[in-house]
Amino acid sequence: MDTGKRIVPPRLGVPDEALALYVHIPFCETKCPYCDFNTYAQIEGLIPDYVAALQHEIERWGALLSKPQTNTIFFGGGTPSYLPVHDLGHVMSTIREAFAVDSAAEISLEANPGDVDPERAALLRAVGFNRVSVGVQSFDDGLLKMLGRRHDAKTAMGAIRNFRDGGFDSINLDLMFGLPDQSLEQWANSLNMALELDTEHISLYGLTIEPNTPLEVIVEKGDLPEPDADLAADMYLLACEQLEAVGYLHYEISNWCKPDKFARHNLVYWRSGEYLGVGPGAHSYVGGRRFETIRSPRQYVEALRSASDLPTESDALAAMKQIGIIASGGPDSDRQQAADFLMMGLRLSEGISSAEIETKFGVDFPTQYQDEIKRLHASGLLDFAEDRYWIPHDQWLVGNEVFSQFVELDTTSGG
């Protein structure tokens, strides 16, 4: 095998060893037709009880894990910005009591453009959020309407400015491409408007028509065309070119940032670091175990309300299972964990380290995956040098061809 003279891609900052914390807010004013996340419209009445339950869960985890260190916190959803700011503030206070939150922690909030005026932006900053991720999705009003979004392009631009004025110096902007009926020209326009806003971070997501969503039905009925995969590829390549030209770093398949403005919380996922998800349907990876919280907000609230005061289990996960809020999960095999590590890590420009796989999971990557590596390298899908392996940028669009080589076929259940 040729060892090549390729230059090892630079690392994306120092890996975070602390426990990342994800907080799920399962409320939306309306549900978008393409969305299959665990979120609900028309259950606002549950918000007060929900906030209490969430605080309760956070307190329990904090106690069970002996007030763990955390360097990144991410409020996702759903629409976290849909919650009253004082509720978000209460949850933040609980986190600060139950967890050892680093003074330089990245604390992110997902926001809907329609939910932000200058005053609210300042309040969010004041309760501790220092990064915001704005779900713009498109700057084309027609496409926004098709996506079921409640904002228009003007509101989106205003929202970014409001966050800026409110003191946020780390802003992400989400755009979607490969939409039904979206032209390359419409996409170029949206991109240009995004670039004008000069955010620190940009995420671009190709639309996936998820099973059991209203959009799937609409497309099946033929009321909207199925997106053209080739056109979506052209859109992606156009974005790569334009973002790079103005100095964005393309550090993950769907993510770009200004120098050093990586999404630190997401980097924990991609590098298979440890994270705890609280709230219904949240996912966790703690101590080599992946698990998911029950999906129903109502049952979640009930379970925490009726939870006894003292858990009898000393193991943290077992104790939470006793309460009845853990839906599934268990230990994965080393090879499964290694496969997940590859699937996530190869999304990054820095790729993965075989030495790290060996240390973490006892799996000898170059030997055990010899055939796959050889085959992928021969077709230009995988590069390596020293102990690092990565997918060349020009093959990111067919990343699944690489990931699927490493996936474990017989152990798809754990989790």
Binding site: Y22, H24, F37, F74, G76, G178, Y205, G206, L207, T208, A229, D230, A232, A233, Y236, I253, S254, N266, Y269, W270, Y275, G277, A282, H283, S284, Y285, R290, E292, A339, D340, M343, M344, R347, S379, W396, L397, V398, G399, N400, E401, F403, S404, Q405, V407, E408, L409, T412, G414, G415
Partner: protein
Amino acid sequence: MDSSLIRNFCIIAHIDHGKSTLADRLMQATGTVSDRDQKEQLLDSMDLERERGITIKAQAVRLAYTASDGVEYQFNLIDTPGHVDFSYEVSRSLAACEGALLVVDAAQGIQAQTLANVYLALEHDLAIIPIVNKIDLPSAEPDRVAAEMSRTFGFNDSEILRVSAKTGKGVDEVLEAIAFLMEAPRGTADAPLRALIFDSKYDVYKGVIAYVRVSDGAVQRHDKIRMMSSGRTAEILETGYFSPEPLGGMALGSGEVGYLATGFKDVRDCRVGDTVTLDASPAAEPLAAYEPILPMVYTGFFPVEGDDYPELREALSKLQLNDAALVYEPETSGALGFGFRCGFLGLLHMDIVQERLEREYDLNLIATAPSVRYRVRMTNGSVVDVSNPSDLPDLAQVQAIEEPWVNLSLIAPERYIGAIMELVTGRRGTFERMEYLQGETTDSNGDSRVLLEYKVPLSEILIDFHDALKSATQGYASMDYSHDEYRAARLVKLDVLVNEVSVDALSLIVHFDHAYPQGRLLVKKLKELIPRQMFPVPIQAAIGSKVISRETVKALRKNVLAKCYGGDVTRKRKLLAKQAKGKKRMKMVGSVEVPQEAFMAVLSLDR
């Protein structure tokens, strides 16, 4: 048993006309099975048979019936396979009987299979008891159907029984008719043993179990028997009959039907159609001339995973234990590697074998397009049989290629004559004759039904003919065929190239006149079936070195999961596993991943 009280009979019917339900009802009415044990279609023991509602293997069951004269009769009901693929087995079953119940659906009337079966029964000189079944159906027209039967077969209306096997109505009359209208078996009790094998199956403990009808003499445990055609001998481990569970320990005398546990390890030692005699005092002549069954349809079975080849060989040999009609030999394909060329009685037989291999032996198989057996006359005067298109000799040395033709009978309402004519002549068929089945009577549409007879090349009806016929006649037509002669035709080999490489497993032998349109359709279909790869893949159809059609599968440009939301890794993992599993089911042809369905593409061309 006094052989004058024995009645050996079978039930003949078109598929779904209620043969198995009537059999169940007869068993129930004679107390052979209790009501409690009654499960639908008792005689169809294979799961596949129950699922598909067809009988694949013949079965025999003994019923004791006390008739209105107060005498107890011994009935032997021999269930016959209902499908044209198994007509050889049907004829062996008929040879073991003196009578037949002819069952016709009261709503559908006579169908092609009814006709074929009646002719077979007449050939075997059987007493036929005509039955109009399913008279409980709202759409039943018993009188019209009876009139159709009278006209077509010459029955008197009074002898046609009106029955509902489902509700039990008329079943007593059927039992009485069997006792009084059918003849007792003729045979000589003190002559040397002669017993006809009409089916066999393999049992792990007792070896091959032969289902027999004893004509002369008797047979019991410890007798040393001899197969008259193969000469193989064996000592009988057990004799008995089914009721419907096997009951051992009874000798079988003249006229009786039952089973022999032979201890043979291979069904081919004990073929359907052979005559059993005693080794010590053999009979002079067999009961019937033994004819080996010849496969009509051939296909290649290849394991998707090359490592599964030994398992495939093992599975085929096990299936063959119970299926003497299945033949196979090793085949090597440039595209698919090592596999087996298998011969079948027909497409249904092939389907069943493939399904059993996949279901019971957990094999992941690629089946290539089915082919008939061609007879190739070489310029040097020799003749070679070719059942695999890739074995076709160099045309320079070929004088003529001959293909098998069949006699095709179709029954359909008159209004579909035009559509059927068009369909069959498009398949190179030639019209032979036409006959109206009814005189004055018409069906509910005021339409008469007609019998149409054609001669047509077997290869033309092999693939999608039955579906095409159903759609051309809105499901009203039924078909049956029997083999005719070989005829020379202008046949060519159509090759397919995927990414510039000829794929032997996709080659077809087609008539020259059809080669161009067929090549075009095939290439188009393959373009739909072969997924996009990392590079563009040209697909071409060629005759010899001449490319007659071409399409290109565009290169894959985008295949990546967009988003990992909130650390949900398991979901991503599942999506990728699904993709990876899909890939695993594909076969690498050169550097191209080809899905299994592509090798059967020719089955789904819209012509």
